[in-house]
């Protein structure tokens, strides 16, 4: 990042140890730094420590070594299931989210009139609060009386038992989340509008058809935003919580098919009768390591497909 506009440091008077600017700099960032120590670095290390202990908040933590991890990975039946559920959910959600948002953005970018109207229409679901969205879709997708299944039956199509059949619970959540793709769509739209028109002209003169223009001009030039949207989609899907929790009455849904990692963590830490802070911290750390690896791989492969403007110069 360019630092060209940074203030030139004022020469420090020899009598003082630090220049006025240095002191001002430290003072301005001090709120963040204090918060970082108290609410990020401290808790980060503390949760690592707790993950090696047995801790119920009332009695002091008791060191158990790798017991929590051992139990989670070999004897706990629900944890591997919650991991599996989370991965399946992410595999459905991430591509669908990115493709839907990009598809709608491409259509919108082509529109010459009523653009603002459509933009609002597609964005509106994204501001609906998560808890309201959960109820809304449980009601719409109600297996017996829901509007969607009434319509499907009228068309003589199979009507899935969305919220009851373990196979369909994850798709139910995916649908409710894809409905809220507005933010990603706006980001894609801005990126599409930033593609220089003359590149399309040049490609057309070279005989490129619409598909080739899209593949070799549009996609590379918006790849920075695609990368960003994909990254936040992955992280948010691995942390999925509210939808599952509210849609399935604070539980994992039929046959625990909607029990996700963060829901399981929450249950072990705060669920009535549990308060297993050590065990829950171990869950948090396994999830953290998974997210770390996934993000690392994503960034590692980024230079293969993400185009940054400064590379061209």
């Amino acid at each position: 990042m360019a630092d060209v506009t940074l203030a030139k440091s004022t020469p420090a008077p020899r009598t003082r140890r630090f220049s006025e600017e240095t002191v001002a700099g430290w003072l301005t960032i001090s709120p963040w730094f204090i918060g970082f120590i108290i609410f990020t670095a401290g808790p980060f290390l503390a949760s690592l420590y707790f993950s090696f202990t047995k801790y119920d908040v009332i009695n002091p933590p008791e060191w158990v070594g790798l017991d929590n991890y051992n139990r989670l990975l070999t004897r706990d039946r629900l944890f591997p299931l919650s991991l599996r559920n989370t991965f399946i959910y992410a595999l459905m959600y991430v591509p669908l989210h990115v493709i839907t948002a990009l598809g709608v953005a491409i259509l919108l970018e082509k529109a010459r009139t009523l653009k603002g109207f459509f933009r609002t229409a597609f964005y509106l679901p994204a501001i609906t609060p998560a808890v309201a969205t959960a109820y809304l879709w449980v009601w719409i997708l109600n297996p017996n009386d829901g509007v969607v299944n009434q319509a499907l039956r009228a068309l003589h199509l199979p009507a899935p038992a969305w919220t009851v059949d373990p196979f369909w619970t994850k798709p139910t959540i995916v649908i409710s989340q894809i409905w809220m793709m507005g933010a990603a769509m706006i980001m894609f739209l801005a990126a599409l509008q930033g593609v220089p028109r003359d590149l399309y002209e040049a490609a057309t003169l070279d005989g490129a058809g619409p598909w080739e223009r899209f593949r070799s001009v549009t996609l590379p030039l918006i790849s920075g935003v695609t990368f960003f949207v994909t990254t936040i989609s992955i992280i948010s899907s691995l942390n999925v919580f509210t939808q599952g929790y509210v849609m399935f009455d604070k539980d994992g849904g039929p046959e625990n098919s909607a029990l996700f990692v963060v829901m399981y963590l929450f249950k072990r830490a705060f669920g009535s009768g549990y308060f297993q802070m050590g065990y829950a911290s171990a869950i948090a750390w396994i999830l953290f390591l998974i997210i770390l690896v996934v993000t690392f791989v994503q960034f590692k492969f980024a230079d293969r497909w993400v185009y940054y403007e400064h590379q061209a110069k």
Partner: protein, 300 residues
């Protein structure tokens, strides 16, 4: 950038070669027909659940699952019933308290920190800023439990403090975003203010803050939305129905207030009450909202 926030939507659009090839205007219009058909169809699909929710919240309870779009009788009593059954007013007040305190705290703290990182030179600046970025990528679940233990020690469980006070220390994402804006402000303004004897804090307050106002509004709206929406934090910290926020109250509505089975019409009316303030904020600040989101993708 010439202005602080440049809207990607306001730029005059140049016609591409492909478009100008297509001949007279009316033929182009005709060629747009499939595009508009798709746009109308898809946007209806996205809006219908929303419209359906509002209309059904006004239907008599027996019609909750009927497939008529409009209610046979407009049943406003669903709304008065829901307010009678649950302390919705109290929950809304709590949510507003959390959102307003949280927004105010995060706007000032994040902009001050961003100013330090963008415009002041001090030892450790680069390394500390790298830490800011790292914390942005850190998932909240890994700090969740110790953070709860801190608030528990402070006796703040079942108060509204844990829901907003973290904002006093800035937020990594907003610090990053505001720093991008602050970097674009010309140095001449700072230099002349320094010659006039202005302190660094005065420059932040009198020069920087007014110049990045659109970005501050975007941050305020994002944070308002985040606090309005937040479900997990109140779920962890609040257990007294009088202290609930709307998100938690609504989530517990079925178990706390509907022992006799789900009364969907009331639940839907409550969902509408919960959503409306956000819709109002959205329409009032739509421009800032859209620009902020678009900017997040491009600069993020």
């Amino acid at each position: 950038m010439s202005t602080i926030v440049q809207s990607p939507y306001d730029q005059p659009r140049l016609r591409t070669a492909a478009q100008s090839e297509q001949g007279p205007k009316w033929i182009r219009r005709l060629g747009d027909f499939p595009l508009y058909l798709a746009l109308f169809g898809l946007s209806a699909l996205f809006c219908l659940p929303f419209v359906w929710l509002v209309l059904t919240s006004l239907k008599p309870p027996a019609e909750v699952f009927s497939n008529n779009l409009f209610p046979s009788t407009w049943t406003w009593s669903n709304y008065s019933d829901v307010v009678d059954q649950a302390p919705i007013g109290r929950w809304m007040l709590n949510t507003f308290i959390v959102a307003i305190l949280g927004v105010t705290a995060v706007v000032f703290s994040s902009s001050l920190v961003a100013y330090g990182f963008a415009r002041l030179r001090f030892p450790g600046r680069k390394q500390l800023f790298a830490l800011v970025i790292a914390t942005y990528l850190l998932p909240g679940s890994v700090t969740l439990i110790p953070t709860f233990l801190i608030w528990n020690k402070l006796g703040a469980v079942n108060t509204l403090w844990p829901l907003w006070a973290g904002n006093l220390f800035g937020s990594a994402f907003y610090i990053f975003m505001l720093r991008q804006f602050l970097l674009t402000i010309p140095q001449d303004l700072v230099d002349s203010a320094r010659l006039d004897g202005a302190s660094f804090f005065r420059i932040y307050w009198n020069i920087m803050l007014p110049l990045i106002r659109p970005a501050l509004v975007a941050v305020a709206i994002f944070e308002f939305n985040a606090k309005w929406n937040d479900f997990m934090t109140p779920l962890i910290y609040l257990n007294n129905p009088d202290r609930y926020t709307l998100a938690l109250g609504l989530a517990n509505f079925k178990s706390d207030f509907q022992e006799l089975g789900t009364q969907w019409s009331l639940l839907l009316a409550a969902s509408v009450i919960f959503t409306i303030p956000m819709v109002i904020v959205f329409f009032v600040f739509q421009r800032y909202f859209m620009e902020g989101v678009a900017h997040t993708g491009i600069k993020g």
